[in-house]
């Protein structure tokens, strides 16, 4: 049965809401320079700690930087990390989960124990230690988060591949002499497309959240703007009146991003799992 997943998502309220939020965030991140006259690191002429005004919608911080500008540029960091981790981590999931299922045997057993191990290790501590030791930057954070997140997806992909690899067209491809990469990327991945997308959304959501958390804890590149860092500064300056202008819009933006990702993910999962689908959709298909 062919299910048009895009239609399923846009057909549900959750999906529409999620996609709208996500689209909004992406637009803000992409067109950030058009929405502010300042740059995030620019020390403006306004005095530090000023409250919201016409020139500075959310006021300025201790270094006379415009908070609105930092907020919208911060979306870039969040989304970069989110998408970066989604792509890298799901690639690892597909590669390791898929090959484990295709090869089976010792190879499979080895990787599944690795998966167990990584899930068992408290990742956040490892990341803090490693990132601190290696001097944190965005790329390093993406790599570390991906290394932490791929095992969950790998389990899902492995299970699905086990059933898909028994399909006739897969063994037909074997009889043309196809190797694992052809089988995996031409025959298995296309059929796993929606599952992989759902996995990517999940990963992105966790990555955005964890990046914010890590930078809140100070594990972050000092030269970039990040929502977590902004909240950390807000916490530091709670004795000043302006702290709420630093904290609340940032928290709100972070929440909206996470909600957008979650809603899209929910909608896709509903489409993927027939048990979660309500009858209205089935009728719609007929």
């Amino acid at each position: 049965m062919h299910v048009d997943y895009w239609k399923e998502i846009t057909g549900s309220n959750l999906g529409r809401a999620g996609l709208t939020l996500l689209g909004l965030m992406v637009l803000i991140a992409v067109f950030a320079p058009l929405m502010t006259p300042y740059t995030p690191h620019q020390n403006t002429d306004t005095k530090a700690f000023s409250p919201p005004s016409k020139d500075h919608w959310l006021g300025t911080n201790d270094a006379r930087q415009d908070i609105w500008t930092r907020l919208i540029y911060g979306a870039r960091t969040s989304l970069e990390v989110g998408f970066g981790v989604a792509i890298l981590s799901s690639f690892l999931s597909v590669l390791i989960g898929g090959t484990s299922a295709i090869f089976g045997g010792l190879y499979d057993r080895f990787w599944m124990r690795v998966v167990d191990a990584i899930i068992a290790i408290p990742g956040i501590i490892v990341i803090i230690l490693v990132a601190t030791y290696l001097k944190p930057n965005v790329l390093l954070i993406i790599v570390l988060l991906s290394l932490l997140m791929w095992p969950g997806g790998a389990r899902v992909i492995r299970a699905q591949t086990f059933s898909l690899k028994e399909r006739m067209h897969v063994s037909a491809a074997h009889t043309f002499g196809a190797g694992w990469s052809h089988i995996l990327f031409r025959h298995i991945v296309p059929d796993l497309g929606p599952i992989i997308v759902a996995m990517m959304i999940q990963d992105a959501r966790r990555a955005v959240f964890m990046e914010a958390g890590l930078s809140f804890l100070g594990v972050s590149d000092p030269s970039i703007v990040s929502w977590g860092k902004m909240m950390q500064f807000a916490r530091v300056y709670t004795f000043l009146e302006v702290w709420k202008w630093w904290l609340l819009p940032t928290g709100f933006a972070l929440s909206l991003t996470l909600i957008g990702l979650s809603f899209t993910g929910f909608a896709l999962e509903t489409a993927l799992d027939p048990r979660l689908r309500d009858d209205k959709h089935v009728e719609g298909v007929n």
Binding site: R167, M168, H169, S171, A172, A173, H174, T175, F176, G177, A178, G179, H182, R186, H187, P190, D191
Partner: protein, 582 residues
């Protein structure tokens, strides 16, 4: 004794006979078979000294070289020592003389006897060929084809010749007359050297003990008739047998691709041969002895064994799926693997294909051991067709992508080359090659079309061996028939060997040369399809044959019910009283 040495004949520089050697004793009978244009008639005529082209070599009859005799001497030998029954009965008799007169003429030329004796002699001859005296008085146009043939035979036998050459003795006769003429010839030729020239293999089989297959002026295979027909070794001989209708083999008729050409370099048959290699187009293969009176002219030693399987065993846990299987599949041959579901047929197919690993045993492809290690090259030689084409083709692939996939996997050629390959192979499986069709997805195709696409996919790498696992069981009967026809044609044109896995013995009977019956992983019976289906040895084979579909009506009740319905409709009986409505 008739001895032919290096006989060569050419017409206008075109070599028709290319060095024929043979030696025949009194009582021998030899059939010369081959397609028209092979030089069969020329061979007969050159022994008679009647050939018009340039003739070289020697034909010794009792020590005399007939080719070096003067015309005078030849004339005295012709009709007396050697006689010939000519091909075309309509033209061989003179329409203005009665049959009696014509036979009398044959006797009078060579024997000096008076009229009374001649009268007796001719009547005796007429009787011996089964013609009455009245028929003897008749003119050729008053006689039937069979009677004309009989009178020609009487003429040939008139002087009790030592060598009797029969050129298509039964060509234009109906089956009953043919049988009578054959019987007649057998009776009369037993003490002579009989040379039967024919394209009709069944006539040759009935008339002769030895058989020589002539192709483009060369003998390509020779041997005892029975052995040669049951077990042909030259691809051309097999092609001839496959293309001749008979009641023995059950496989559908197949032709031989291409046309015969004279004067080509190398083996004369190589252009039409599906197993030719480079040496075939360079050197003429000599006729060499195979033992058991068989000889063959082929660089590859006859039809090559393509796949040899020895002692193949595979178990799943304690369940033995395939046990100690041995067989050999020859080039261009179809073996049907028959058995019920669960008998291990598909497992065997998968092992051969490398999808499963055997526990024990050896598989050889073209004399190379391939068990355990199969490289990309292997899959260019062996391909598989599955039961359900819509499953074996990814539902995400268009026709173009699906057929192109094997080429991509094998890294063959650039995109344009691949597309033209795809179109070529689609043409071969009789599918459209336009862009609209190439962009279709499997679910947009009919069952037959999808299976053709699957076959095209398998053929695009030009394999020699096709493992067809129930290729037609998902199709309805008429589509199935077309697909089978296609497979047979592909076999004919490419020399494909096919391992045809099926549960349907009736189907297997029509498509296979040999049949293997599988039960619980073991091959319980194996042999030529006609032998297995006509005289099954194993109980299981008999059981399969008993339950095989046939069109005969089981009992008379079906036929009866039709009549009763008629009666009911006429209102003669109340419905209640009739058995079928109870």
């Amino acid at each position: 004794m008739l001895e032919v040495k290096d006989l060569k004949v050419s017409y206008n520089g075109l070599q028709i006979l290319n060095g024929i050697d043979m030696c025949l004793q009194r009582g021998d009978s030899l059939a010369i078979i081959g397609e028209s244009g092979a030089g069969k008639t020329t061979f007969g005529l050159s022994i008679m000294g009647l050939v018009e082209g340039r003739c070289s070599g020697q034909v010794f009859l009792n020590g005399r070289d007939l080719l070096s005799l003067s015309e005078e001497d030849l004339r005295s030998a012709r009709g007396k020592e050697i006689s010939m029954v000519f091909q075309n009965v309509e033209d061989a008799l003179d329409p203005i003389y009665s049959v009696f007169d014509q036979i009398e003429e044959a006797v009078r030329i060579h024997q000096k006897i008076d009229s009374g004796q001649i009268y007796e002699k001719v009547n005796l001859l007429l009787r011996s060929v089964g013609l009455s005296e009245d028929k003897g008085r008749a003119y050729p146009h008053q006689l039937s084809g069979g009677e004309k043939q009989r009178s020609l035979i009487a003429m040939a036998l008139a002087n009790n010749p030592e060598v009797l050459i029969l050129d298509e003795p039964t060509a234009s006769l109906d089956a009953v007359t043919k049988a009578e003429v054959i019987k007649l010839l057998r009776e009369n030729a037993s003490d002579k050297i009989a040379l039967v020239i024919t394209h009709d293999i069944s006539t040759a089989a009935k008339l002769t003990d030895m058989m020589a297959v002539l192709y483009a002026g060369r003998v390509v295979e020779m041997g005892p008739t029975r052995d040669l027909l049951e077990n042909p070794r030259h691809p051309y001989t097999r092609g001839l047998i496959r293309s001749s209708p008979n009641m023995t083999t059950t496989k559908d008729l197949q032709g031989i691709p291409g046309r015969m050409a004279h004067g080509i370099l190398g083996c004369p048959f190589h252009e039409r041969c599906t197993q030719h290699v480079s040496i075939c187009s360079e050197k003429v293969p000599p006729l060499f002895d195979l033992g058991d009176c068989r000889s063959i002219a082929c660089h590859r030693g006859g039809i090559v064994p393509l796949l040899e399987v020895m002692d193949l065993t595979k178990s799943f846990g304690s369940f033995k799926a395939v046990g100690e299987v041995d067989f050999t599949l020859y080039e261009g041959e179809t073996i049907a693997l028959v058995g019920e579901s669960g008998s291990g047929k598909t497992t065997l197919g998968k092992i051969l294909m490398g999808l499963l690993q055997p526990e024990r045993g050896e598989i050889r492809l073209e004399e190379q051991v391939i068990t355990g290690r199969r490289d990309m090259k292997f899959y260019r030689r062996v391909q598989m067709i599955y039961q359900n084409p819509k499953e074996s083709i990814s539902h995400r692939m268009t026709v173009l992508e699906a057929v192109k996939e094997p080429l991509e996997v094998q890294g063959k050629g650039r995109l344009e080359v691949q597309i033209s390959e795809v179109k070529r192979v689609l043409k071969e499986v009789e599918l459209p090659q336009d862009d609209e069709f190439l962009k279709k997805y499997p679910h947009q195709l009919s069952g037959g079309e999808a299976q053709r696409v699957a076959i095209a996919r398998a053929l695009v790498l030009n394999p020699k061996l096709l493992i067809a696992d129930e290729p037609t069981s998902a199709l309805d009967a008429s589509v199935q028939a077309k697909i089978l026809k296609l497979l047979l044609n592909l076999q004919e044109n490419r020399g494909l060997s096919i391992l045809f896995i099926t549960h349907d013995i009736a189907l297997a009977r029509k498509v296979s040369d040999r049949m293997m019956v599988m039960l619980k992983g073991q091959i319980v019976e194996e042999g030529p399809t006609d032998v297995v289906t006509n005289t099954p040895v194993h109980d299981y084979t008999r059981k399969l044959l008993n339950v095989a579909p046939d069109l005969s009506v089981e009992n008379s009740s079906h036929r009866g019910s039709c009549n009763t319905l008629d009666i009911i409709s006429q209102g003669k009986y109340p419905l209640r009283a009739n058995g079928i409505f109870r």
